[in-house]
Amino acid sequence: MKSIAATFLAAASLALMTQGASAQAGSKTLDLIKQKGALTCGTNTGLAGFGLPDDKGNWTGLDVDLCRGIASAIFNDPTKVKYIPLSAKDRFTALQSGEIDVLARNGTWTQSREAELGLLWVGVNYYDGQGFMVRKKLNIASALELNGASVCVQQGTTTELNMADFFRTKGMKYEAVAFADINEAVKAYDSGRCDAYTTDASGLYGSRLKLVNPDEHSVLPEIISKEPLGPAVRQGDDQWFNLVKWTHYAMINAEELGVTKANVDEMLKSPNPEIKRLLGVEGDFGKGLGLSKDWAYRIVKHVGNYGEAFNRNVGEGSPLKIKRGMNALWSSGGIQYAPPVR
């Protein structure tokens, strides 16, 4: 067994090796990105609000905006991003092997994914929880009435595990129909193969828009898990980890300080020292990240602050109309909180 496995280990890891080695040697993901002239960003294969190409082929979404933010900070150009759509099953391997620089694909932050997969989560850009969607005509008001149901799910997700836990602890029977691709799972639910579809609540609202008759489906009130969704990077490049993390924090800080895409140029003249530091008028906080001192100005100028990105993609300004809830700033009742720039 061991020797057979070793032989195949060699064959299977060839791709892993070459790219992994190059990323390892310099430990400078940023240098490589500058050399390539574009950021390579792993995104969802198509989830409204988080990562979805529009009718012109431009990627949009909350996760996509983070990638655009990083590109703005590095190149002062939000379009210098190469998007690689990934299924839930392939996403971590793509990041581990160095195929992508950052994984912004509504991935749940868990202990084992950091301890065993060699990844690091930079933060949480969306606090979520898992829910169920059912047809209204089934007349179900609670997930506790799902005993005996068939449930469509995307495989290789925490969703699959939470669902098993949920039905096991409630002593209910169910049938899990797992698909590798999110679109196949949604299609199977829509055609009646399953009684319910389960994923993170935000994803349920996003997927509902893709159904033939969105109005015939409702999301059940139960949230059965904690799903802190956020972007992840490989371990071993602390500078790059910091750059991605502070891109996310810069957007939150900008919202907190009232700096928006529209007023960022005026804000350069603001007397507030916190705004001055954020926008690079005072001090040089970009240097340690390998960036210019106006890095955060560039992010806000091109992409906007966190609140703007939220509203545009998943909030009131989008077809999803999701309330801020937990994702509001700490100062307005939510739990989005960023350490200060200083």
């Binding site: 070793a6 060699g118 009646g192």
Partner: protein
């Protein structure tokens, strides 16, 4: 100048010895390949360790904590990843076995139909072959799954075939046989019946060889195989009962359920592979020269006997080797299950298990080894059969 000198001289130098040179080149090639493989393994292992990615097989005994909707052996979310692997493997083998059987049957039928003198039959068979083998298999699978099976009614409006058999978009629900004590006798009776039919076949062969008299093998065998289990069933007091499915809540409770994903995969694979097998069968039959048929008929053999005793045995020699390839292809193609949500080895093990454990290299290596072993075993069985059928050359 020196080149000219070298060409004129007889090659006595050891350096120009063609055998030695050939050996040298091969040794260099082996060294390069060996070095590259070694580098690949060491590099991958180092990189994986540096990133904290597991490099061992310790995940095998950990609790899987996810569910699978078709399990041939007992499995629950509290079973281990190793158990999940077995579930996936058995599901793959099930699809492959049934697929190979159906594809062969359908392939022979269509292959013969293509040679039919009836214009309509042969044209229909040609159209089938051309359409099936010239469109991608994945497309056919998605078509069968999405366009044929999913528009079926939901469980509440199931199509009923009577006798507790229902068909809906959750699959085919049939009564589940329950074996009470005494069922063992039926199995024993069936085994005895099959043994008896083989013995009769041997006897009939020898009888024909000695006297030329042909015994009705098919009819007698059928009686020998069917009668004993039926008698045993009645004598043992009808020990088999059926658990009939009942609609309760969302779905049918009780009974046995054949998943639509399974049906789509088996039908898709067999229908696709049958097109290739049909061509192999046609080629095999055409390879037997017409003189053989004429000779058999001039000896007074009937059409059936000509086909059975003269044409098919010779055609099989041509058919078997490429047929093995088709069986292997079908088995490997069954991994397309992942696109329609059937829990085969790739979907369960190289999909969910890989993703939950992060042991990508190990999982893919095991999966590849499994397909290799399945293919080698299939090829071995077919080779043994082929050797028995091959022309004995003297």
């Amino acid at each position: 100048m020196s080149l000219d000198v070298a060409r004129e001289r007889p090659s006595t130098s050891l350096f120009y010895n063609p055998r030695l040179r050939g050996f040298l080149w091969q040794a260099i090639l082996i060294l390069i390949v060996g070095f590259l493989s070694y580098e690949a393994i060491v590099n991958a292992a180092t990189n994986m360790r540096a990133r904290g990615i597991p490099t061992d097989f310790s995940f095998w005994d950990r609790v899987a904590s996810f569910d699978i909707n078709q399990t041939l052996i007992t499995y629950s979310a509290t079973s281990t990843y190793g158990r999940a692997f077995m579930v996936g493997l058995l599901n793959t083998l099930l699809v492959a076995a049934i697929g190979v059987f159906l594809a062969t049957f359908l392939g022979f039928f269509i292959g013969i139909a293509r040679l039919s003198k009836n214009f309509v039959v042969s044209k229909l068979a040609s159209i089938y072959v051309e359409v099936m083998r010239n469109t991608p298999l994945l497309l056919q699978l998605l078509f069968i799954y999405n366009a044929v099976l999913k528009p079926l009614p939901n469980p509440r409006d199931s199509i009923s075939f009577g006798a507790g058999i229902y068909f809906n978009n959750r699959g085919l629900v049939v009564p589940d046989p329950q074996f009470a004590p005494g069922s063992g006798f039926i199995l024993i009776a069936a085994a005895l019946g099959i043994a008896a039919s083989f013995a009769f076949k041997l006897y009939a062969k020898r009888r024909q060889f000695e006297s030329g008299e042909i015994l009705p093998i098919a009819r007698v065998s059928a009686a020998l195989i069917l009668m004993p289990p039926i008698l045993a069933y009645l004598l043992a007091g009808q020990p088999i009962s059926f658990d009939t499915p009942v609609l309760r809540g969302f779905n049918f409770v009780g009974g046995m359920r054949v998943l639509p994903e399974f049906v789509a995969l088996v039908v898709g694979l067999s229908v696709y592979t049958a097109a290739f097998i049909a061509e192999i069968v046609r080629a095999g039959i055409l390879s037997v020269s017409h003189g053989q048929t004429e000779a058999a008929q001039s000896l007074g053999l009937s059409r059936t006997h000509t086909l059975k005793l003269v044409v098919v045995p010779q055609a099989l020699r041509v058919i078997l080797p490429p047929l093995t390839n088709q069986f292997l292809a079908l088995t490997k193609n069954s991994s397309l299950a992942v696109f329609i949500g059937y829990p085969d080895l790739v979907q369960v093990f190289a999909g969910t298990v890989l993703n939950q454990t992060g042991a990508a290299v190990q999982v893919i290596a095991i999966t590849m080894a499994v397909y290799l072993v399945i293919s080698l075993i299939t090829a071995m069985i077919m080779n043994v059969y082929n050797r028995r059928m091959a022309l004995v050359e003297r």
